[in-house]
Every structure is written in C-alpha cells, then in structure tokens.
Symmetry: C2
C-alpha cells in the first residue's frame, strides 16, 4: 500500500461509497426480479454478483469500527444486506463496535451457529460484553468451547455490573517477576510474537502474583540490561479494584493521562488491566447517556428503529411531563376567576414561567456539572447558594424590569408592570434555590443528580411561576 495514502477515511466518504455500491447492487436486484426473460435474468444476476463482490471487497478493507458505523447509518433492509456480505470471522469484532440498539437488530438475524462462530475470535472480556445480547443456548455453546482459565475469566468479567471497573477490564496483559534483570525481560518479550495493544507498561508481580510495581516500556528501552526490575520499576501507581466505579477510574485516566492501569483483587493480586481505549469508549457512552436522558430518551435509539419502538423509548419522559403539565394546568385553574376578570394575565403568565424555567436550568446545569467533577463539599455549598441567589435577584431585577415595561406598553397599566417585575424576581429566586437544592438533595440520597433534574426544575418553575404571578395579580390587581 502507498504509504502516503491516508488510512483514515472520513466517515461520510465511506458511507457515500458503500451507499453507492448498495444502490447499484439493489437496482440490479430490482431489475432481476422484474425482468423475467431467462437470459436477461442471467445477465442481471451476473452484474448483481459483480456488485456484491465489489461491495464485499470494500467492506473487507474497512476497519471494524468503520463497518459498524456504516451499519448504524443504514436503514434496516440495507443494513442486513451489508451484514450478510461481511466475512463471518469479522462478525464478532464488528458486533462489539456497533451500538446496543443496532447490535440487537443484527443478532436477531443470525442463527445459533453463526453467533457461536462470531465469538471465536474474541477475547473473554469481549465475549462478556456481548453476553447480555446473546441467546442462552449460544452462551452455553461458547462456554463449552473455552479452556478452564478462559471460563474463569469469562465468569469473572460477567460477574461485575455495568459501570464498574470489573466490567471494563481485560486480561490481555504482560506481567513479569520483580527479581529478574532487564535483559531477561527483553529476551522474554522477544519470544512473544506480538504484545497486546496498549501495552505501555509491564506489570511487576511477586511469586504470589501480588502487584509490586510497573515497568514502563519506555523505561525498559533506556535502561541497562543488567539492572534488576525492582531497581527501575515504578512503585507509585494507580491501581483499581474490580468493584470500583468506572466513573472514578475514567476520571483518573483523564487526570493522570494514563494509557493502562492495573486491576487488583484481594490481597493485591493482579487480575486484569484497564486501557485508555476502553475508558474513552466508556466516557463517550456516559456523556451520550447524559445527553440522551437530558433530552428524555431512555436509551440510545437505533436511528431506524420502528415507530413503535421509538414511541416506547420516549414515552416515560412524555408521561412524566404530562403529569407536571396537568399540575401546572390545575394551578392556573385555581385562578380562572382572576383570569376571566383580567385576561391579560393569560398572555403574560407563560413569560414568567418560561424565563424562570430557563434560569433554573442554567443553575442546575452548573451544579450537576460541579457535582460530577466532585467540586462541591459541605463547606462551599453555602457559598454557592448565596451566589446563585445573588445572580437570580440581579437577573430578576434586570429581566423583570424589561418584562414589566413590556406589560406596561402592551396593556397600559403600571400596576400590571410592577406585579410582573415582582413575580419575575420571586420566580427566579425560586428557580435558583431549587436549582441548587435539587441536585444536592439527589446526591445526598445517593441518586444520580443529572437524572431528571431538568424535568423537576421545569415542573417547579412552571407551577411555581404561574402560582406566583397569578397569586400576586389576584392580591394586588383583581
């Protein structure tokens, strides 16, 4: 291959190319089924095969992650055409790369033998990742095909719940004894055909397998051959336990710029390692989930999921919002008498609720983020409250003033303007207090402060905003 050619194809380009090949492929398929003359059918059949071969060749050249990307971007029928053209021995690595939703659609269309075959080229930690999506019979077959050691690893990898270090670790590491010389290490390595990916360091263990230190590969290369491992190994090290939160481990990787780290079990025995690529995938998934749940989507949705599946994916959020909307509606209902006397209130009330909702969401975004970074302690929580209250009062006076003038110019009533300004200040104050209090309370209760924070603050600022504005108006104007 020409070395000056860039290996990284930009995603869109691949997608266009595959799409074009697919189009030709299916065009011919369409023709073949329509034109029934045997001879024409034969010709079309040949062209059809030609296109399939071309497409297959293209797919073979692609990195598994790129194939996964193409599969995710294709509607179901085309996705399955492409999936059938992928070489069977690559199925496993590609299944690992696609999103959960798309993986389901692919596995649904594979039979038992294909699925068992797909796992053959995978490591045990990778099989563990696929396991939840595989039928029971397939997993039993897979299990039987493994060695005793591999079974143990698979069992161990599957025993840790999602979101723990154990669920992310792999077993693909090189460990060396602490009492040998660098020369022995180098000789040992040279006997290996290749080293596992992301091997930036060797794990130094004692006779019992207890982790003693790390030998960075880079240090290995610049050290005299006669030196003993103990003399050059690093003993200050980041180590994790399989039950540790993956979130914390990810933070350590980001903070200390790690490429790999040891995972130790009871008594400090080395049992696996974490690598930066897995951690990066985890971070991506975590932030994706935050984004999706902020938008009210339960989970990652296949772009081409059926309408019914999508409706179910989204319904929780809509149901919750319906309830909060009903409550807000009843709050307004209480003041129907005032509204019928001064109908301007109906037109002005959404302004108060809307702006305080936005302001509350700003506060909550800040606080949730600071909590995720671990920046909030008992000591500074009070300072934050004071600051947010200050911001809300200032915002209330500024924007409340603008809103009051608006009300005055539209309805020519200075009393209405004053009530509007007062309501804005109070509603923003409510938003600020709740914007700080809700995530802190959720954290205290051991819940994820990001989850549903936005729904809750909006529910409160809606009902609260309507109540404050209509209440003040009823007391002072009606």
């Amino acid at each position: 291959m020409e070395p000056s050619k860039n290996k990284t194809p930009l995603g869109e380009v691949v997608l266009e190319e595959v799409g074009e090949l697919l189009r030709r492929h299916q065009l011919v398929e369409g023709l073949a089924s329509r034109q029934e003359t045997p001879r024409q059918g034969l010709v079309e059949g040949l062209i059809h095969k030609l296109h399939a071969v071309e497409l297959q060749k293209k797919l073979d050249e692609l990195h598994p992650a790129d194939v996964a990307y193409v599969l995710e971007a294709l509607p179901l029928d085309q996705r399955l055409v492409v999936w059938d053209l992928v070489k069977a021995e690559r199925d496993g690595e590609i299944l690992l790369e696609v999103s959960d939703a798309v993986r389901e659609t692919l596995i649904e269309h594979m039979d038992e033998d294909e699925l068992v075959a797909a796992t053959e080229n995978l490591d045990t930690d990778e099989i563990a990742d696929l396991a939840p999506d595989l039928p029971r019979e397939v997993m039993e077959d897979v299990f039987r095909s493994l060695s005793a050691e591999e079974r143990e690893q698979l069992r161990s990898a599957m025993s840790y719940p999602e979101g723990t270090v154990g669920a992310l670790m792999d077993f693909d590491m090189i460990s060396i004894r602490d009492d040998i010389t660098i020369e022995v290490v180098l000789r040992y390595l040279r006997r290996l055909d290749e080293m596992p990916d992301h091997t930036d360091q060797l794990f130094v263990v004692d006779r019992a397998g207890v982790l003693k230190g790390l030998l960075p590969v880079n240090r290995l290369l610049v050290t005299d051959a006669e030196t003993v491992v103990t003399a050059v190994m690093q003993t200050e090290l980041n180590r994790f336990q399989p039950g540790d939160k993956a979130h914390d481990a990810a933070q350590a990787f980001e903070r200390y710029d790690l490429v790999s780290a040891a995972v130790v079990g009871e008594g400090g025995r080395l049992i696996g390692r974490l690598t930066v690529n897995t951690v990066m995938d985890y971070i991506r998934e975590e932030t994706d989930n935050d984004m999706l749940s902020a938008g009210g989507l339960r989970e990652d949705e296949d772009l081409f999921a059926s309408v019914w599946k999508s409706v179910r994916n989204r319904w929780t959020w809509l149901a919750v919002n319906l309830v909060t909307a009903f409550i807000a509606s009843r709050v307004i209902g209480v003041f129907e008498d005032s509204i019928s006397k001064l109908v301007a209130l109906a037109a002005l009330m959404p302004i108060v609720a809307g702006i305080s909702g936005n302001s509350g969401n700003q506060t909550i975004t800040m606080i949730v983020r600071a909590l995720a970074l671990g920046q909030i302690t008992g000591a500074n929580a009070r300072k934050l409250f004071v600051k947010e209250i200050g911001v809300s009062v200032l915002n209330g006076l500024i924007w409340g003033g603008v809103v009051g003038l608006f009300a005055f110019f539209i309805y020519h009533s200075w009393q209405l303007g004053v009530v509007m300004t007062g309501a804005m200040v109070l509603a923003l104050l409510l938003a600020a207090v709740m914007g700080v209090a809700i995530p802190l309370a959720m954290q205290k209760l051991g819940r994820d402060p990001a989850l549903g924070a936005s729904v809750m603050i909006t529910a409160i600022t809606d009902s609260g905003g309507f109540f404050i504005f209509l209440g003040l108006a009823t007391v002072f104007l009606v």
Copy 2:
C-alpha cells in the same frame, strides 16, 4: 513509598484534607490578627507557619491535575492562599490543568516575573496553550528566552485556530530514519534519558523528513536486532494535517483506538504528533461545551465567579428566551377574546405547548446526535422524516387522547376534549417536522446544529402550540 498504597486519591478525599488544613491555617490567621499582645502574636504566627508548611507539603505531594482540581473547588480567597503555597516551578503545569475561568483568576494575581518563570518548565506547545491568557509583555519576555527552533514551534503552534489539529499537537516525538537497523534504533533510544510520554510508536522519516511509516514500540521489542526499519514499519497509518478539524481527529482516535498519531505538513513532512491524552481532554471540553450551551451557559463558569460575571455569562440565553416568550405572549394576546369567553383555554394551553416542546426536543436530540456521528446522508434523511412523523402522530393520538380525557373530566365538555386531542396531534406533528428540519437546515448552512437547536424548537412549539390550540378552539368552540 509503600507500593501497596494507592496513588490515586479520590478527588473528594484530597479536597477534604486540603480544606481541613486550610481551615486550621485561616483560623490561626484570624486569631493572629485579632489578638494583639506581642507574645501571643508570636506564638500564633509560629502555629500559622506550621500549618502553612503542612499544607505546602500536602500540595507538593499532589499531582498537578489534583492541585488544579483543588483550586477549582475553592472560593477565590482560599484559592489564592493555596496558589501562593504552590512551588513556583509547578505553576506552569498547574495553570495548564485548570479551567479557563479559574486560570484567569490565578494569572490576575501573578506579576510579570512570576508568569515568565511559570513558563520556563513548559514545552512550546504548552506555552501556546497559555498564550491567549498571558499579558503581551510576558509573552515577549518568554519569546526572547527561547531558542530559534522553539520560537518557530511556538509560532507554528499559535498560528492554528482552536478546534484544529494544529492547536492540539505537540513536538515531543521521536523520529528515526528508515534505512537503519533495529539495533541502531535501540542503541539510539538507550542514549536518551527518557522517552516522551505516550510514545507508543516511533515515526519513521526519510532523509528529507517526509513521514514514511510508523514503528510501534511493541514491535521494536519483539523484532530481531538485525532487521532494517523499513522491513517492519507500518505503512498504513493515520496521519493528520495541522489544519484538519480536531473533531475528526478525535473521532479517529476513538474509532481506531490510537495512542498517538503523526501530524504532517506540506509534502508529507513530519511536523508534530497528537496524543490520546490531549485528544481525551479535547473530547471532554467539547462535550462539556455542548452541555453548557444546551443549558444556555456561554462558557465554562468558575463555580465561584462573581455574581456580576455569572449574570453576564448567562444573559444571552435569557435574552433570546425573553424574545421568544414575548412572541408566544403576543400569540396568546391575539386570542384574548376567546379566552375571556372560555377561560378554561388559559389553563389548558400550556399542556399543548409543553408536551409538544418536549417531544420536539426528543427528536432534535436524536437528529443532532446522528449528525454529529455523521450518520445522516441525503439518502436516509427522508426515511427519518417519515419515521419521526409516524412517531409524532402515534404519540399525538395516545397522549392527545389522555389530555382530551383530562379536559373532558375537568370541564365536562366533550367538544373541548376533542379540540384538545386534535391540537395535540397537530402540535406534535409540527414538533417532529421542525425537530428534523432545523438541525438539517443548520447543517446545510454550515452552522453547528447543536447550537441553539433547543431554543429554536421550544420557541416554535410554544408559539405554535398556543396558536394551534387557541385557533382550533376559536373556530370550533367559541
């Protein structure tokens, strides 16, 4: 150091410890200034110093990223106390780690000499990262202190705008010639005191400095010493140009599990490299910005920024929302007549607007995400439209039905219920169409589809929802 001790202190623990030391430190400071007897003052002064020493010792032990984290979590006055206790030679690396907002507060409190000294231990690409925050005179001094080669690097690093590969690259790489043997490479490496961080591969160049391939360190270790570099180097490689989008490079790092990658200039000459830690920081910053802008915060806000600074950081979003709220208010204003005749409309209208806003936000979240992943092409955009319209009609019938029943039970009017259901279907349809159309249009116009998408869809569903519901009610009920 005891090897079995975990080096990674969980952030919260560090913060508590430093906080405790600070509290003692300041307690004494407070005492010292209040009690004026000379002798007592002396004693207090000594204790004060003792605590400062203790705190300083603690800080010296911490990783720069941990110190940065502590600084970010402290209110301004305490932050500056801690900052003064940090050893001057560590200032540079810590400034690199703190957030932009906090960096500003620290730099503001350093004089010119301190700032120049802080850059002394930094690489040129790191100086380039700090440059925008440093005063002009400081940068001139720094420039004078550099060698000609370093000046060239600094100029080059500073010439690339944020969000490009050039702005993220460093110059800290090892390049070797393609015509030498592995033995020569190993000898060359052994002469180095240490290899740069994240050196998972050596860059192979020809006589003219043109990148020819990569020699993974792991392959170096398992290859015979007599082999020539060209025989074992990888020629299929990911390479970037300094003008490439950082977003695309980050996607390549995630997709192909890279640890480092070459950056080449004109004619394929090697000029720098990208490493996974920088890319990970970039991804974090990118997703953070998405989250902040989704919440309507212009930029990362110092948790303890002054009230006035926070107000300014948040005002754009509130101003935009005020405008859209005014428009919605005027839409309602048009129907004041209908509302005064049937006041139930005022209580029911926020339900229609609210639910369609939520549904629109769900659609837009999906589409923005798919666009960011490059999964949407001309070919599948129509399919997406059809799917989202299907989802919205189904949702409209389901939730519209619920809402209609609610209206019927509260106000005992089946006509009102029917209008409510009809309005929900239409409003959700509007939300779905706009939820797909807005991000696609933004993308076509070359704008970031994530930016302001949520504000726009909410503005449309608010005004649209009020208009549809009140319009239908006016036609059929009033």
